[in-house]
């Protein structure tokens, strides 16, 4: 093959190609290398490579590595893709990826390096990192504002109610519902992209109504869900818990709530109350009941059954698994 043809192959490469001899002098420097480092091929041939393209602070390490290879035949940089800093003709440092292979025949001991400029890639990574940070901040800020607004709504409502003759119980229900919604936003801002966990939603939703922690038993596999599904669930859990506290099992210290779920073709959610004594086992035909019956079917496309057993309330929901899929 002609020298010209070999040169044209070298110059058509997408990466910079540089070859050096054993003492470290440049014997090949292709067109991409010329552009990347800012030297003409003719001006660098025969010159010591280290002084031209290796930054000051890495030069000693480079020489030590060369000596080590010559003494032992080992070189950690050889035959490995290495990310490192290089230097342009103007002295500017920039990130590269480097692949060096040794070559040896009867006459020569050479090293050829393939070099890729990583400047754009590193810039993109940094930009992406910056955007991610910004997004996290924005999400926190947004959740904070939403919570703040809900808090102000609560106050406005309390003030308006104080001046009216409306039933206080009615306001309590409203207030609890709003607080339950607001508390979900705490979870939203603490979560990363991996969603909210059902056990946390159940625990957070029930805690304000429990007389002691043993009243709540939770059993089910880890189940994560996106914010929309979590919001629907939290409304339902609040209704179940407030109902249990007012009319159901946890009116008494001995009462217990059992919450279980299983993942099959659909997600099966099961709420059951175990009162020790006989208790009031009526569910009002109320707004709360309407929420229990309708929220999950309407918003998540699932089905719901509510039964009043002698032992207490049994609430079952079956929800399509796609409502638990997290966005990428």
């Amino acid at each position: 093959m002609s020298t010209q043809f070999l040169q044209s192959i070298l110059d058509s490469a997408l990466d910079a190609l540089i070859a050096i001899d054993e003492p470290g002098r440049i014997v090949e420097f292709n067109a991409v290398a010329e552009r990347m480092f800012g030297y003409d091929r003719n001006e660098v041939l025969g010159k010591p490579m280290a002084e031209l393209i290796i930054p000051d602070e890495l030069r000693d390490a480079h020489h030590a590595g060369m000596n080590h290879y010559q003494a032992t035949g080992e070189g950690p940089v050889l035959n490995n893709r290495v990310k490192i800093t290089a230097m342009r003709s103007g002295g500017e440092s920039f990130p590269i990826e480097l692949y060096v292979v040794p070559f040896e025949d009867d006459e020569n001991k050479l090293f050829t390096a393939t070099i890729r400029d990583l400047t754009d890639e590193v810039n993109r990574e940094q930009e992406l990192e910056r955007l991610l940070k910004e997004e996290t901040l924005l999400r926190r800020e947004l959740d904070h504002r939403v919570k703040n607004n809900l808090g102000q709504i609560l106050v406005m409502c309390r003030q308006a109610m104080a001046r009216s003759t409306t039933d206080r119980g009615c306001f309590e229900d409203f207030s609890n519902r709003l607080v339950a919604m607001a508390s979900i936003h705490d979870l939203f801002s603490s979560m990363e992209s991996d969603g909210l966990v059902l056990s946390t939603l159940v625990r957070k939703g029930c805690e304000p109504y429990l007389k002691h922690a043993d009243q709540l038993q939770i059993e089910g596999p880890e189940l994560r869900m996106p914010p929309k599904t979590a919001m629907t669930f939290s409304v339902v859990i609040n209704e179940l818990a407030t109902n249990a506290a007012k009319h159901g099992a946890i009116r008494s210290e001995d009462g217990r709530i059992s919450v279980r779920w299983a993942i099959g073709d659909e997600v099966a959610f099961h709420w059951e109350e175990y009162p020790e004594d006989s208790i009031e086992t009526t569910i009002e035909q109320s707004f709360g009941f309407q929420l229990l019956e309708s929220m999950i079917p309407y918003e998540l496309g699932g089905s719901v059954t509510t039964e009043m057993e002698a032992s207490g309330l049994i609430y079952r929901a079956s929800i399509p698994t796609n409502q638990f899929e997290l966005e990428d």
């Binding site: 309407q290 309708s294 309407y298 918003e299 496309g301």
Partner: protein, 124 residues
């Protein structure tokens, strides 16, 4: 007077498409109180299309964002049938660049129901 004509006109059967149960519930109650007949609310495109296919509909109120989908397919179906509609949204302009929006009233949440109702009545 246009206003008095509207007040005495027969019920406008209005389809409400809104993915939030609570907002849908309240919208239905408010619109009924203002003398409208409400179909729905329904939470998604499929339920809305079924509703249009199976009932006479005079007008529609479409929440643009329905969670995993938008209500634009419903808007198309209504347009084909010559049924007027308005959009409601909780979002900013930046997300709303669909051609369908042209020529249709757009209400931003939170919505004053009397204004919305008036807009729908004008279709009648």
């Amino acid at each position: 007077m246009i206003a008095s004509q509207a007040d005495t006109s027969p019920f406008t059967r209005t389809l409400v498409v809104e993915d939030s149960f609570l907002l849908g519930l309240q919208m239905k109650a408010d619109l009924e109180q203002l003398g409208m007949e409400v179909l729905g609310p329904v939470p998604n495109v499929q339920a809305a299309i079924d509703m249009i296919d199976q009932n006479p509909v005079d007008a529609a109120i479409l929440d643009i964002n329905l969670g995993n989908e938008t209500s634009f397919p419903v808007a198309h179906a209504l347009q084909e049938r010559g049924i007027p509609f308005v959009f409601i949204t909780g979002y900013d302009d930046m997300i709303l660049d669909d051609k369908l929006l042209e020529g249709h009233a757009l209400f931003r949440k939170p919505i004053r129901m009397d204004t919305l109702c008036e807009a729908v009545r004008r279709f009648g």
